[in-house]
């Protein structure tokens, strides 16, 4: 079978199965905590407006945050019970987030949900509104509202929908388990998105380190119209949107452009499963699979309610194994560091990775010896060693000319650098400064 890939990239934690060995054989298990704290700004776009007050009683699936603006999405209660607090709380973002805390009564009372029963018979023009009503945003990490992604501006023709099941990020196995355990939901979600956009081709792309998932998806695709599985080489960042498009379709997204410029929409497999639930059963997005791994007693793939605190998720895995040094929301390559375990998981938290103090210790930077390994590794074709010099010295105009904005912040350069230089961090800082400037 042909295996697709892109130029550049690295093999992080290669000798240790990308850190996935601890959880990839473990079936998903549901864990429900005593209380959840649901932020109103989980998605990219204007934060939702809270609709409940302290003391209200809510059911699962009840809208507790109203969508604001064109990219806004509603937020739903993920447990039934009593609202104990509505207020600002510091989450992972720069500013404190408006959060609704709900005490779980474990009655698991649902609001009434009405779906279309079958994705193939659901009216095509009702699919995107159903996705919006279910509050679905990109579950691979970027949290881009899915209804906005599936409503391309007129003039852009979409020919292919790519489902991203690469899961190239270290430690994470949540998408792997999802594809293995419920492949039918993933294909249903893909078909729903294809019908909504009127697209004839859907490809599910999976890295070759998940042969069981490839097998399961291929079986689920049999007999479904226009759906196929593409096998990718295992390499980081194979799941980067632009790298994935390049590998599967051979098309290159232009600098500063979007996937829709080359006729492609990329969705995460988790997002597809959520779309299937929204269209078939009319159920909103209230839970997701999260890999909790690293320095915890019992690394697992948990089905967690949105808004579960990191501390509760870790206690669901038997607690910490030793003193935690760093907690990542996401994998260790692109994840964000959490200040402590009091933050909530969001719709995009695909993993909670705990590192020990020793693993988390940062290394001393040494001078660049111009070996050029970062240039070989860069999947965007940049010259990181040169760009870092420009970014650190403050010459951002020249850095823009040398395409710092095309950096996807995958961190391959920092990982491969023998002098342990903070390359990707300096580009992130430069991109933030440029964003502030405009």
């Amino acid at each position: 079978m042909k295996k697709h890939t892109f130029a550049g990239g690295i093999h992080p934690l290669h000798g240790q199965h990308e850190g996935k060995a601890a959880t990839r054989g473990k079936p998903v298990r549901e864990f429900v905590s005593d209380s959840v704290c649901i932020p109103m700004d989980m998605h990219l776009g204007a934060p939702s407006k809270p609709l409940v007050r302290k003391g209200d009683h809510v059911k699962i699936g009840q809208v507790i945050g109203e969508a604001v603006g064109p990219r806004g999405i509603p937020v739903h209660a993920s447990v039934s019970g009593l609202v104990t607090e509505v207020g600002l709380k510091q989450q992972l973002l720069s500013n404190a987030s408006m959060c609704v805390t709900i005490q779980n009564d474990f009655a698991d009372e649902w609001v009434e949900c009405k779906g279309f029963g079958n994705v193939e018979t659901a009216p095509a023009d009702k699919i995107v509104p159903a996705i919006l009503a279910a509050g679905i945003c990109g579950m691979g990490g970027a949290c881009f509202p899915t209804h906005a992604k599936l409503s391309p501006p007129s003039g852009k023709r979409i020919q292919t929908i790519l489902l991203n099941g690469a899961e190239c990020e270290t430690f994470l196995t949540s998408d792997h388990r999802l594809m293995l355990e419920t492949p039918g939901r993933v294909v249903d979600g893909l078909r729903a998105a294809m019908r909504a956009l009127g697209v004839g081709r859907g490809v599910i792309a999976i890295e070759d380190n998940k042969p069981d998932a490839i097998d399961a998806m291929q079986r689920a695709c049999r007999g479904r119209e226009g759906v196929e599985v593409a096998v990718l080489k295992t390499k980081y960042p194979q799941g980067g949107e632009k790298q994935l498009i390049q590998a599967v379709t051979g098309r290159e997204v232009p600098s500063g452009g979007l996937p829709m410029d080359v006729g492609v929409v990329v969705l995460n497999v988790g997002t597809a499963a959520a779309i299937a639930d929204a269209v078939v059963d009319g159920k909103p997005l209230i839970s997701r699979i999260t890999t909790v791994t690293g320095a915890v007693r019992e690394p697992s793939n948990l089905l967690l309610r949105i808004g579960t605190l990191f501390a509760d998720a870790v206690s669901g895995c038997g607690g910490y194994d030793g003193e935690p040094g760093k907690i990542f929301a996401g994998g260790s390559m692109t994840g964000v560091c959490a200040p402590d375990d009091s933050v909530s998981m969001t719709k995009a938290t695909n993993g909670i990775v705990v590192l020990t103090e020793k693993q988390a210790r940062s290394q001393t930077q040494l001078p660049c010896i111009r070996c050029g390994r970062c240039v070989d590794a860069c999947p965007a074709g940049l010259m990181p060693y040169r760009l870092m010099h420009l970014c650190v010295s403050g010459d951002l105009d020249q850095a823009v000319k040398e395409n710092v904005k095309d950096c996807i912040l995958c961190g391959s350069c920092s990982y491969i650098c023998p002098a342990k230089r903070w390359l990707a961090a300096s580009f992130k800082n430069a991109k933030e400064q440029l964003a502030r400037r405009s």
């Binding site: 989450q91 720069s94 964000v336 560091c337 200040p339 940062s362 300096s426 400064q433 502030r436």
Partner: protein
């Protein structure tokens, strides 16, 4: 030795030199672009640090803009009144009104041990980056992050980070304002040099939360407002502000502030 060959070579090269010289001097006169002689003179009057605080690429660009009328004679924030006066004389316009000289002041006292800690930041040394990570390493969302983005942009070596807090050397500061622009927390404000009595806090949170965040936070208790005989202090947005025009530097408010966030500094 063949002297004639040397002579011919010297004559040929010399002749070419004379010929090209003549062509160049003709072209210089014929195709000369008239330059306003005021540009080099204005450039001479500017400080010449090329800091870019005026918004132009450097002093040359500002000089050209002043002469062409795109910029005003007092647009150089570094040169101050003296520079504006000299440029106005060159340009033959009225000297702009002399303003109170400004200086950059850090509106925070949250040094290590004073401001409460949220987490240890051990990444890329940038305030912008640290403050975008879960609200920054200090609990107060209005505090100086102390990783020196302002130090990096200062062209005059006037800012240092001491004990996790930016400190301005008022002797060296030229009030170019680059530090105030780059600070992600807006912790640096350009204030008149004579405004020595200031509230060094701009925490907008409730009193209880502010106290949880920092030991020297303004809790908007309004004791300074009651104490001030000159109506110079106002409390909006959860923190006190002293109007430098009304303040007489009597120091009464400094004594009553329970949190120690009003300070009286030496006037340089």
């Amino acid at each position: 030795m063949n002297f004639t060959a040397i002579l011919y070579a010297a004559l040929a090269l010399g002749g070419l030199g004379v010929l090209f010289g003549a062509v160049l001097s003709f072209a210089d006169k014929k195709f000369a672009v008239p330059v306003d002689d005021r540009i080099p003179r204005v450039r001479e009057a500017l400080p010449g640090a090329n800091c870019g605080a005026c918004g132009y690429a450097g002093c040359d660009a500002l000089a050209a803009a002043i002469v062409s009328g795109d910029a005003r004679p007092d647009d150089c924030p570094v040169g101050g009144a003296k520079c504006a006066k000299a440029i106005s004389e060159i340009m033959g316009v009225e000297t702009p009104q002399e303003e109170e000289p400004l200086v950059a002041k850090v509106i925070c006292q949250g040094e290590v041990g004073v401001s409460k800690h949220r987490y240890d930041y051990d990444g890329f040394p940038s305030c912008q980056m640290a403050s975008s990570m879960a609200g920054g390493p200090k609990k107060c969302p209005y505090a100086c992050v102390g990783l020196g983005d302002c130090v990096q942009v200062c062209k005059f070596d006037a800012i240092k980070v001491v004990n996790g807090l930016a400190v301005v050397d008022e002797q060296k500061c030229t009030a170019c304002g680059l530090c105030a622009k780059v600070c992600p927390r807006h912790s640096i404000r350009l204030s008149p040099r004579s405004a020595t009595v200031m509230v060094h806090c701009q925490n907008r949170d409730s009193a209880r939360q502010a106290r949880e965040e920092c030991m020297k936070a303004c809790i908007a208790c309004r004791r300074c407002v009651k104490e001030c005989k000159y109506d110079a202090i106002t409390v909006d947005d959860g923190f006190a502000y002293i109007d430098p025009e009304k303040c007489t530097r009597c120091g009464a408010c400094v004594k009553v502030c329970p949190m120690g966030c009003i300070k009286m500094l030496e006037h340089h």
